[in-house]
Subunit: 427 residues, 2 copies
């Protein structure tokens, strides 16, 4: 496509989305819930059709050399489609955040100022190969009153189109515009880039995917972005920690699901307990074959042991690396203050934990660590919309603008001031 | 400077700012207020020195052909410096937003989740020629616990440096790092661009200035931006409006201070009252020499009259233009719904008003107009942090991410979750 064709292609989506958003913004909770119920039903009814489209996607991907684990992420089964439908059904039970009066007051001149919760408007979501994101993101946007423009990965285009068409029908059946949920039918990179600069029609962009995708969106977008998901998380074990709890939290934070953003990547250990504690935790980590990348002091202690896993010396880059894998960097620090400094220098502002029984150290850690979620005596793995009780999640923000941490329905809203007067003019 | 030198120049500011921000974030309200009091005092004490530097700026600007009104904006007088000091003193009385517990709850697993208000961290502010912004922005950032990196205009560099050095001293005297407030001593455009991409050290960018500056920041920044100040505001006069109130609000919204973003730019008039109302308001606007740019119907009515001002036919561009001047576009619309549609198509989401005595129309207008501030029977000119009772203002957001409308101290904060456990791990 020429540059003009690209602009005209994406602008058409934008115009339709904005028009749909203005209608969806004032739809009642009842109508929005009806859309979700319709979509859940239609997903099940269309299982065969969706799987037929998905099978073509998977076959093409395999022919193009996609790895087997990636093919598995791309594949839809009746169970996975049922899971998507159940996700939508769960959203119905959640409170509608829209229309809440946050606060209101009267000014000395008699003006009544009311701060209300309203939808963001049009949300652009750029995501990678998993087609369940289409249903998930569309459901969250509808419930929070936002129109969305979805741009999925090339490999999942047929699957995504099949799921998106279910939403168009579900919307129409509830009397709302089909354009409340639109999926780009062209996955050219140039179109995605143009979408990132469609400020007139898109209010917010949320990238969902790996570090490369998020970096590309942050670097290229002029539309406001919510950056999600980069998590170089730490657990600091204080000399006054309960050691059993320390082992249990580290094992959970590192090994329960190592591929996710709230898993721990670096273990910091107080120098006083390094010689006694490091062998204990290392043996435990070795049972799960966690590779250990050690600072000098840690290496001196651990290299003497016979551990059934890789133990190597850490490089400078290790302190800044999100492995998302069964690898853990370990560093001995002189005290909790050095731990905080290390975290603020190397962390990504996601989730950080201290294990200690000392009140003052716990308080200092929570006040001085600059991150979305700061834990005392618990695993970093709890940073999650469901674990926080939001009942839903579109991602975990690790920027500071708009919101931080897990984002549920509330985080997909903004505010509007409505002001009632009786002829006030400014002096 | 080479590209490497630029990066190293701006990174040094970033490193210092982040270090200072970590200390300022936990400073007590008392200490922050002491800084403001110190700075107010030092501004007055250093009046002669600041004016000496400012005089050089103004002379250089004049020699370089700066217009006389722009020179006036650049010029500092003892009264203007006193005004800056008074602005800082007023901040002392305001509540410190930092540390508030927004909410907190216990999860079924016993985890206690607490949502706290914390500073954004490091705020970058890029602004144009008025040196009072230096004191104003620095004061707001200190009170809200944020370190700032200020980049002012080339023409005001000496004045800005003089004001910034007052803050360095005020901070030091209160025991806080001088680097809480830093001003770039090099105003090269390439450095400003590098600052807009310093994601590792700057949490939020706020441009303060004209449309060109704001566009440049939005288009070039990878750091999250709060877009401020573009205001193509409308007043819609309904057929059920109180006509005296309508005239009073229009005159106020258009002429009380036409150069600002919350001034009205387009008047929409219900067709039923067009013939009777337009001559009345046009005569009143003519007394202030407001140029009228009219739709066909309006022109048919007004061109018959002898008005002591310019009356011309509007072009398509007029509906999208923020004049910031004594010019008003006028359009006749069939009803309030067409008014809402026009506003949603041409407005910038800033401030919009309806004048009506009809409850249902007022409600429809407030629910369906997509803008930060939607007024019934009051002037758009009230969109302002002081008029809203915030006691301070850093700008007016017309994006939807983070906040909308006037931004005071509260809007310069973000949240942090602190989570207290007793060994919880995720199942």
């Amino acid at each position: 496509m020429t540059e003009n064709e690209i602009i005209s292609y994406i602008t058409e989506y934008g115009v339709k989305a904005k028009k749909a958003a203005n209608i969806l913004a004032t739809a009642s909770a009842g109508v929005k819930n009806q859309v979700l119920a319709n979509a859940a039903k239609l997903l099940i009814e269309n299982t065969d059709k969706i799987i037929a489209e998905n099978t073509i996607d998977v076959e093409n991907a395999a022919a193009n050399g996609m790895s087997v684990p990636m093919q598995d992420r791309l594949r839809l089964t009746p169970d996975r489609i049922k899971g998507m439908a159940e996700g939508l059904t769960q959203l119905i039970a959640l409170d509608d955040p829209i229309g809440t009066i946050i606060e209101g007051y009267k000014r000395p001149n008699g003006l009544e100022i009311i701060k209300k919760r309203v939808p963001l408007g049009v949300i652009g979501i750029i995501f990678e190969a998993r087609p369940n994101v289409t249903a998930d993101a569309a459901g969250l946007c509808i419930k929070s009153g936002n129109a969305c423009i979805l741009r999925g990965g090339k490999e999942a285009l047929r699957s995504n189109m099949a799921v998106a068409s279910v939403f168009a029908e579900a919307l129409e059946d509830a009397g709302l515009p089909r354009d409340c949920v639109q999926l780009l039918d062209n996955t050219d990179r140039e179109i995605a880039t143009a979408m990132m600069r469609l400020n007139k029609y898109i209010d917010v962009l949320i990238p969902r995917g790996g570090a490369g995708l998020i970096r590309a969106v942050v670097n290229n977008a002029s539309v406001p972005v919510i950056q999600t998901g980069t998590g170089n998380c730490h657990v600091y074990i204080d000399n006054e920690a309960n050691k059993e709890m320390a082992v249990s939290v580290i094992m959970n934070a590192k090994t329960q699901r190592p591929s996710v953003c709230n898993a721990a990547e670096t273990l910091l250990v107080n120098a006083e307990i390094a010689e006694s504690f490091l062998p204990v935790i290392a043996k435990e980590l070795a049972t799960k074959k966690v590779e250990l990348r050690c600072c000098d002091k840690t290496y001196t202690v651990l290299s003497k042991l016979f551990l059934d896993t890789t133990v190597i010396e850490a490089s400078h880059e290790d302190w800044d690396t999100e492995y998302d894998d069964l690898i853990l960097a370990i560093k001995v620090v002189s005290d909790y203050k050095e731990a905080v400094e290390h975290i603020n220098n190397h962390g990504t502002g996601h989730s950080e934990a201290i294990i200690t029984d000392n009140y003052n150290k716990a308080k200092y850690f929570q006040e001085n660590v600059d991150a979305a979620c700061v834990y005392v005596n618990a695993s970093t793995r709890f940073t999650d919309g469901f674990e926080f009780g939001f009942g839903a999640e579109i991602g975990i923000s690790n920027q500071k603008l708009h919101t931080r941490g897990p984002m549920g329905l509330m985080e997909l809203t903004t505010i509007k001031y409505v002001i009632n007067g009786n002829g006030q003019i400014r002096q």
